[in-house]
């Protein structure tokens, strides 16, 4: 990757400082959203925990340099400006909902839909899912999520993404991710190794790929445990089909 020019460095610096000036608005956005989710009776029974953060300015800086480099590589114009930064980079405010098993996902999705409706949030884009697992893909597209894949950077990342806005006029957005605790473990290990730069150690990449399969297996197992738990707690003769 070629070194960024003085002009490019100035542009990145301006964009990062624009974000820094507005960071506390993103922070307020997160505080209010966090509070609304934790006080929603429809959501809390299905949620294990919530994490939220505003992006570290240095991480934004890395991201902007990466985007600059990508644009150059592909001979495209770098189009980010102060006017569109907040609309084009949607993870400046990020909130993550962690849950235990896959059967909770439709309930959380419904709870979020209702919350957005009641609290008049606007959806900035259709909720989407990222997954590498065929079985998950079938389940998620069945629930109406757009499946996004990034051929440029194959990954074992599995998560649901929402991007919302407080009102029509504002440029501030917040990304909400929903994933299981199992997927969170995989993603955290991946993040530590591959962010902001991919690990050069082949063995680690291979082990991460294996961990993704193990994660998928564990998720299946957790789901099965809960389904058995629910089934066995019912009166005899009403066991549901385990092969579902």
């Amino acid at each position: 990757m070629s070194q960024p020019s003085a002009k490019e460095r100035r542009l990145v610096r301006d964009l990062v400082s624009h974000y820094e000036k507005n960071r506390r608005t993103f922070a307020s956005f997160l505080v209010s959203l966090h509070e609304q989710i934790t006080s929603s009776g429809k959501l809390t029974p299905h949620i294990h925990s919530i994490k939220s953060r505003t992006k570290e300015p240095s991480h934004l800086e890395d991201k902007l340099y990466r985007k600059l480099a990508e644009a150059k590589e592909r001979n495209r114009r770098f189009t980010l400006t102060k006017d569109n930064l907040f609309l084009k980079v949607n993870d400046l405010a990020g909130l993550r909902i962690l849950h235990l098993n896959t059967d909770q996902l439709p309930l959380i999705a419904k709870g979020l839909d209702d919350l957005f409706e009641e609290e008049s949030y606007m959806r900035f884009e259709k909720p989407s899912a990222r997954t590498w697992d065929d079985e998950s893909r079938a389940l998620l597209s069945g629930m109406g999520f757009t499946i996004k894949s990034r051929p440029s950077r194959p990954s074992f990342y599995t998560s649901i993404h929402y991007v919302i806005k407080p009102n029509k006029k504002t440029q501030y957005t917040c990304e909400i991710q929903v994933r299981t605790l199992m997927e969170e473990v995989w993603a955290e290990v991946d993040h530590t190794l591959n962010y902001p730069h991919r690990t050069p150690i082949l063995a680690c990449s291979e082990q991460l790929a294996a961990l993704a399969r193990a994660t998928s297996t564990c998720s299946r197992l957790v789901d099965s445990i809960f389904r058995s738990h629910v089934d066995l707690a019912r009166p005899a003769g009403r066991t549901r089909n385990a092969g579902k």
Binding site: R24, S28, S32, E119, P166
Partner: protein, 330 residues
């Protein structure tokens, strides 16, 4: 009240003559400017949002004010507290009250109990940052009431009279105003106070813009953009043998410090909050002396209570200020 969340803000220009420093003649200036505007054919609504009720006492007889305050919590209450109490009690929207009419001025009378609302406003403010509609509504309750009264009586100018502090009530008032005017006294304490005044207003505007950008659509919001319209130095003593030294030095310090400490601080947030052409005096008012007391006693403009020479002089000064206000409040 039919609709305390009006989608449309009435066109009346809302102005506060505001300085958190006490004893700078806010109330006397407010009443006399309002009178001057009515004499120029404008309809003016005065909102006595100072729990000390000085403005109300200026315009209404003491015994009548006492009766008003005694009955303000009843269903017949006529003060601002009577209107706002349902909001403070969490019982919904403000109750529409009829303004008192005094010599062609409209007045929403003040109330000592309004200080109770300060506490509620403090909570409403925090709730607004949690994006709760209750918070936005509560913060704008007084504004919504003024909106309704202004629309009903086709008001041209609304003046808020405020207490000498930087509490939540004044914050809600200033964020509701289209303009503010700084009364400035010619003394060192008053000049030193400009710094806190500028900083406080800048913080309020900045904080509220965060709340606005997070607010759901279709919620009535305080506009949060009080524009500095100018300032009025007054209460300088004119000593027979030392006229130039006693106040021309103070006046030039006031000119300088107001631009630096209020104007520039606001311009750092947003240039349009303190247009350079408005960073100037709207007029000069000498110490009212005995006329202030006479005016207060009779509830009249000070140019109706002095001798012919004084009356002519003050009428000219206040009509001049009123014309400038009309010119700047477009």
């Amino acid at each position: 009240m039919a609709d305390s969340s009006p989608s449309k803000r009435h066109k009346a220009r809302r102005i506060a003559i505001y300085n958190h420093k006490g004893g700078v003649g806010k109330t006397t200036l407010t009443v006399n400017i309002a009178y001057a505007l009515t004499e120029l054919g404008k309809k003016v609504l005065l909102v006595d949002s100072d729990p000390q009720c000085n403005l109300t006492s200026y315009l209404i007889d003491a015994s009548v004010v006492d009766d008003m305050l005694d009955s303000s919590e009843t269903s017949k209450g006529k003060t601002l507290w009577s209107a706002i109490k349902p909001v403070a009690d969490g019982m919904g929207e403000a109750r529409l009250i009829e303004p008192a009419e005094i010599n062609q001025l409209f007045l929403l009378p003040g109330d000592i109990l309004l200080s109770k609302f300060e506490q509620d406003l403090y909570h409403f403010w925090s709730e607004s940052f949690l994006r709760r509609v209750r918070g936005y509504r509560g913060t704008a309750a007084l504004s919504a009431l003024v909106n309704e009264v202004a629309a009903k009586h086709e008001i041209d100018y609304v003046f808020y009279d405020s207490g000498p502090n930087i509490g939540p009530l004044n914050r809600a008032i200033l964020l509701d105003c289209d303009y503010f005017i700084v009364p400035a006294a010619c003394d060192a304490f008053s000049i030193r106070a400009f710094k806190t005044l500028g900083q406080t207003l800048a913080d309020w505007v900045r904080d509220w813009s965060t709340a606005i950008s997070l607010a759901p659509d279709n919620v009535y919001l305080l506009p949060g953009r009080p524009v500095m319209m100018g300032y009025i130095p007054q209460r300088f003593r004119v000593y027979a043998d030392d006229v130039a030294a006693s106040y021309s030095a103070f006046l030039s310090r006031i000119d300088k410090r107001i631009s630096a400490d209020v104007g520039a601080t606001l311009r750092a947030v947003d240039k349009s909050l303190a247009p350079l052409e408005y960073q100037s005096r709207l007029g000069l008012v000498k110490d009212f002396g005995r006329l202030a007391t006479l005016g207060q006693e009779q509830g009249l403009p000070i140019w109706d209570v002095g001798n012919t020479y004084e009356n002519e002089r003050y009428k000219t000064i206040f009509h001049g200020i009123a014309k400038k206000i009309i010119g700047r409040a477009h």
